[in-house]
């Protein structure tokens, strides 16, 4: 079982990240996936988070407790959620938006300029898809083919191509990052 938290600020497509991963893994990746998002006044604006539990068996407890993976796309979200991350967990950040604290425990961290890459591709709105590509590559949670199957229907049809391009960019960067061993 893997507990994952995606976090950032409202409007970055943070909820969408968990929806894409949950859909891909549960419909095409032969896994059980349960996705929750924060509801409540604190979720409107400012730090925003979505939670995904991925498992080989049925998910019984519906909420994440000690996430193994934290994806942060804003400083505020990182500050809010970093302390929850498991001691030997995996931290994934947008390096231009998050300045991480010195490493804690055995946490492994990976960074990607997701928003900058998305801007280079023509639309910063696809930064979350760059992040999803990078996330898929470094976590190896499933193949890029499976993850990409989760995208149609969850982004506007007219932007599907651009979003998949953003995903590929992030995925390639992730593969390179692993090769470099950082």
């Amino acid at each position: 079982m893997t507990e994952i938290r995606f976090s950032g600020f409202g409007g970055q497509g943070i909820i969408r990240c968990a929806l894409i991963a949950g859909k891909a893994l549960s419909l095409y990746g032969n896994k059980f996936a349960t996705m929750n998002q924060s509801f409540g006044p604190e979720a409107r604006g400012s730090a925003c988070s979505s939670q995904l539990i991925v498992s080989d068996d049925r998910v019984l407890y519906p909420y994440i407790t000690v996430p193994e993976i934290l994806v942060s796309m804003s400083q505020e979200a990182y500050d809010k959620y970093e302390s929850d991350l498991k001691d030997d967990g995996l931290l994934i950040i947008d390096q231009d938006l998050v300045k991480p604290k010195p490493p804690r425990g055995k946490i492994k961290s990976y960074s990607v300029p997701a928003t900058r890459f998305a801007e280079d591709l023509g639309n910063r709105i696809t930064a979350n898809l760059v992040m999803m590509g990078f996330f898929t590559a470094v976590t190896k949670i499933t193949t890029s083919e499976v993850m990409k199957k989760g995208v149609p229907g969850l982004v506007p049809d007219r932007f599907l191509k651009l979003n998949l391009k953003a995903f590929d960019k992030g995925y390639e960067y992730g593969v390179e990052t692993l090769k470099k061993g950082t």
Binding site: L19, S26, L27, F32, A33, N36, F39, P62
Partner: protein, 388 residues
Amino acid sequence: MKKSKADPKGVLTGSHFMDGDFALAEGALAAGCRYFGGYPITPSTETAERFSERIPYVGGVFIQMEDELGSIASLIGAVWGGKKAMTVTSGPGFSLMMENIGLACMMETPLVIANVQRGGPSTGLPTLTGQQDMMQARWGSHGDYEIIALSPDSPQECFDLTIEAFNLSEIYRVPVFVMTDECIGHMHEKVVIPPAEEIELVERKWYKGPKNKYLPYKNDTDGIPFMVKVGDGYRFHTTGLTRDERGYPLLNAECQATCVSHLIDKIKDNADKIIHLEETDIDNAEILVMSYGITSRVSIKAVQEAKKAGIKVGTMQLKTVWPFPEKRIKELAGKVKAIVFPEINAGQVVLEAERVVGDKCEVVSVPHYGGWVHDPKVILNAIKEAAK
């Protein structure tokens, strides 16, 4: 009982990653629901949204009513107009529906009401979970009557049990509640919607006899009267007042006894056919964990741990909470040492277990006041304590 297959138009066959609120709407559309009247309230609003998007494309009608009183009243009208109808609400909205729920019971109107429960009382916890309306579903309207209430444990069951709710409502001509909660309502999981031909539906029991012979409250051989559709040329009368077979008010003790005992007996006498339970490892169990809705999933986690600790635990998931499975629990009460009953309320349905069991075994309530689900450790401790 006349059965039919679902109309493919309303069935979104395939696998979806969907939340419980959407799954309620999809279950209803698959069941042939073609009228939704409601008033948005967190955490049930997504169901109304889904209906508003989908129902026009399947030949149905969506009306956002002025409030919850109007919502449930509009359902009663739609049903007597020949449609299958549903509404969804939560917390304060459920309270506002209570009077007309009684009217639906008295008029023997088949309809489905989903309550995506949040913490209460009053405005309480609009965005956080609870199971605190279980007794309100059972007793919320005034007078004596019986209803049916189901409780799904996942988005998949929101879909499945909503179809079951529509079928039960048609068989027994009674309002049926789908008592889900915020956690499931807002939780996305895989929901598999089967092909239309695999979805079995119960058709309304239409009267086909001569126009001058129709009696809206004359029981058929199965104890349930026939319905007609407004506009089909039958003259009939129905009312919230105590009525005779013709549907006309007859306000005396004899008629009241016939009318009200019928509303109760049609459910009580058929409880065995209505009740839907899921049991595991019951045979040698010394502890029985009873639960419903989201709490049954969390309970399984505790049960798994208890088994590792060597305790013989069985589980009973109440997919039907009302009518309460009295007979089955009486049978088991003589065999197990204790029943452990977690619920996200101060201890509501557990009272029924206590009543039924008497002193045959111990009944342990594991309350939670709402806002979150139980910590499985709390349920585990209750199991361990009861097993001592």
